[in-house]
Symmetry: C2
Subunit: 178 residues, 2 copies
């Protein structure tokens, strides 16, 4: 799919609805993928994203060492790969190869974009003050990409233990808020 | 609706998919309601929830003063009230009265449950270390309530500027993870 740059001021609209994201890192030459649902927007622009990456995850080591990652947003077509990436450990398995995910180069960070995801957010670690206590990282989105052909992304929303809600219909109400 | 207590160990499944929540507080005798989409799970049990409450919101004052609140999860039937609560300020408007929302007493905190919401999470403030810099609060869920009749809640997921995705179908995949 052909991606185009997406305004940083609109990134909040991608993450607010709570989609599962795939966090990618590259460390010591190895790329890895971790599904993640524990994230929140923290600021509009530059976009800040808070997220939990457990110390038990292989990605924790990469994120703390390199201080950069990509948040890739998959749609329902990738559900099996999303769950698969959560079921195996990046220490032992090359998840890109195992799940036939395609690496694409990022513009601002040394971590791969997942080509099959409809949106990709290149991030650096901006704050680690709650890392020791909660494994909580504050990320800053440096560059965003989106597939303009994907108008109503069927994002995945984890309800626990492999159950996902798939994004349904969209409604619009008169709002004075961002 | 008749609610029953919900296990704290399962609360993450309510918030992981990223629903809009209505944060309620009571301060100096006044109850208030604030729609919020910037929240994330931070720990399974006891459940910790990180969230942003802007200093511009009337709820910020109540939350910092009382250190307690309720996170109420609405479904699509309440969409107009959710947007309405975001369009007016609790300093000037009694939102419960204006939007015909019903207060119900909480068991562990002095903030109202919204009876019309299918789930309610009674919370206390557990950590304010990132409050000054990001308006970020860590809440601990002390007690949870759910409407057992609501099996497939049509939760609202904000995409920005009054656009909401309504929870769609559910799929289940074999997962080894919580």
């Amino acid at each position: 799919m052909a991606k185009r740059a997406y305004p940083l001021s609109k990134v909040y609209g991608l993450l607010e609805p709570g989609p599962v994201v795939l966090l990618t890192t590259r460390h010591r030459g190895r790329a890895n993928v971790m599904p993640m649902s524990w994230h929140t927007m923290m600021e509009f622009e530059p976009p800040l994203v808070g997220c939990i990456v457990s110390g038990r995850n292989f990605s924790f080591e990469a994120l703390t060492a390199t201080r950069q990652c990509v948040l890739n947003i998959p749609t329902a077509e990738l559900a099996a790969q999303v769950v698969g990436c959560g079921n195996v450990c990046g220490r032992r398995v090359d998840k890109f190869a195992r799940f036939a995910l395609t690496q694409a180069p990022a513009a601002t960070v040394d971590a791969p974009l997942i080509a099959e995801c409809y949106a990709n957010l290149e991030c650096t670690v901006a704050d680690t003050r709650l890392m020791n206590r909660y494994n909580f990282f504050v990320l800053e989105v440096k560059k965003a990409w989106i597939d303009p052909a994907c108008k109503a992304p069927r994002t995945l929303h984890h309800r626990g233990r492999g159950v996902f809600m798939v994004a349904g219909e969209t409604i619009t109400l008169p709002s004075r808020k961002k």
